[in-house]
C-alpha cells in the first residue's frame, strides 16, 4: 500500500461522506446555523439532513440545541471543539493527499 493510499484510508469517514462534508463546511464557516438554513444552503431534504446531523452529533462533531427565537422554535447546530479539530485534521490530510498527487496547491 502506498503512502497516499494509507493517507486516504485514514480519512475520517464520518466527515468524508459528501453530505456530511457539506454540513461540516457550512458550520465551520459560521458560529451557528439553524436546520432550515443548513437545508437551503446544502440543498438537502429534511430527512436527509436530519439523518446526517444525527450521525455527526453521535460522533460528537456537532452540537444541536433546541430553543426559541421569539415564539418560533429554533434548532441550532454548531461544531463542537472535537468537530472543529476533526474537520481541521480531515482538511489537512485531504490537502496532503491532493498536493502529493499534484492536484492541489
Amino acid at each position: 500500500m502506498t503512502d497516499q493510499a494509507q493517507e486516504i484510508a485514514q480519512l475520517d469517514r464520518t466527515i468524508h461522506e459528501p453530505a456530511r462534508l457539506t454540513i461540516m463546511l457550512i458550520l465551520d464557516g459560521v458560529n451557528e446555523a439553524d436546520f432550515l438554513y443548513l437545508q437551503r444552503e446544502g440543498g438537502f431534504t429534511q430527512g436527509n439532513l436530519s439523518g446526517h446531523l444525527t450521525k455527526l452529533e453521535d460522533a460528537g462533531y456537532v452540537e444541536i440545541e433546541k430553543k426559541f427565537k421569539g415564539k418560533v422554535p429554533l434548532t441550532l447546530c454548531r461544531l463542537t471543539g472535537e468537530g472543529k479539530a476533526a474537520f481541521a485534521g480531515y482538511s489537512q490530510r485531504m490537502m496532503g493527499v491532493l498536493k502529493g498527487n499534484g492536484s492541489a496547491g
Binding site: 458560529n31 446555523a33 437545508q39 429534511q46 427565537k69 422554535p73
Partner: protein, 234 residues
C-alpha cells in the same frame, strides 16, 4: 445545489442583508438624523457660535453612536417578527476578535475583508462615510452655496459605493449614480438655508430606505412562511 464561489462564512455574512431590513433601518435612521438637523438649523440659525453649534454636532454624533450600539438588537427584534423563519437563521463569526483593531486602525477602507468577515463590517463601512460627511461638512456651515447639496450627496454616494464594493453587501454602481444625480438636481433648484445641511442625508436615507423596503417586500413575497415552524428535524 449551486456552484460554490464564495466561502460559507461570507455567504452567512451576506445572508444578514437578504431581507433588506439593515438598509431600511439605516435609511430611516438617516431620515431621522436629517430631521433633527433641520430642527436644530431652524432653532439656532446663523453663524457658528460656541458652545451651541458644538452641542448640535455632538447630538448628531451621539445619535449615530447610539445607532451603532443598538442597531443589531433592533434588527434582531425586527427579523424575529418580520422575516424569521422563512429562509432560516445563521450567525456569522463573532466580531469581538477584530472590532477593536478595525476601529483603531481604520482598516475599513481596505478593499479585502479579513478572513473572519462579519456582518458588522457593512454597518461600520456604511456609517463611516456618514460620520466623515458630518465632520467634513459641519452643521451650520456652508461655504459653497448652491453646490453644497450636490457635492455632499455625490460624496456620500461615492463613499458608500467605494468602501462597500468588496464587502459582504456591496451597493450597485447604478444605485450610487442615481443618488448622486438626485443630489445634482439641487444645484439648479433653490434650497432654503436650514434645509441645505440635512438634505443630502435625507436623500441618502430615503434612497436607502426605499431600496431596503423593496428588498423586504420582494423577500416576503418570494419566501412564504414554511408550513412547519422550521422544517424541524425528525
Amino acid at each position: 445545489m449551486t456552484q460554490q464561489t464564495v466561502s460559507y462564512g461570507r455567504r452567512a455574512a451576506t445572508y444578514w442583508f437578504v431581507d433588506g431590513l439593515p438598509e431600511l433601518l439605516f435609511g430611516l435612521m438617516l431620515i431621522v438624523m436629517a430631521g433633527v438637523a433641520l430642527l436644530l438649523s431652524i432653532r439656532t440659525p446663523g453663524p457658528w457660535k460656541w458652545p451651541w453649534r458644538a452641542l448640535d454636532l455632538l447630538l448628531i454624533y451621539g445619535g449615530l453612536v447610539l445607532y451603532l450600539v443598538y442597531e443589531r438588537g433592533i434588527l434582531d427584534f425586527l427579523k424575529v417578527r418580520l422575516t424569521y423563519p422563512r429562509t432560516g437563521y445563521v450567525q456569522a463569526p463573532e466580531e469581538k476578535e477584530w472590532r477593536v483593531e478595525t476601529v483603531t486602525t481604520l482598516s475599513l477602507l481596505r478593499p479585502e475583508p479579513p478572513p473572519k468577515e462579519n456582518v458588522s463590517f457593512f454597518r461600520l463601512r456604511t456609517v463611516w462615510p456618514v460620520l466623515m460627511a458630518v465632520l467634513l461638512f459641519p452643521i451650520h456651515g456652508n461655504p459653497i452655496g448652491r453646490w453644497f447639496v450636490p457635492c455632499v450627496t455625490t460624496a456620500l454616494a461615492v463613499a458608500l459605493y467605494v468602501v462597500n464594493r468588496e464587502s459582504e453587501r456591496p451597493y450597485r454602481w447604478w444605485s450610487a449614480l442615481i443618488l448622486a444625480v438626485a443630489g445634482l438636481v439641487f444645484a439648479w433648484a433653490p434650497v432654503p438655508g436650514p434645509l441645505q445641511w440635512p438634505l443630502p442625508f435625507l436623500l441618502t436615507g430615503v434612497w436607502m430606505a426605499a431600496q431596503g423596503a423593496y428588498t423586504l417586500v420582494h423577500y416576503l413575497r418570494t419566501n412564504p412562511l414554511p408550513r412547519t415552524a422550521e422544517g424541524v428535524r425528525a
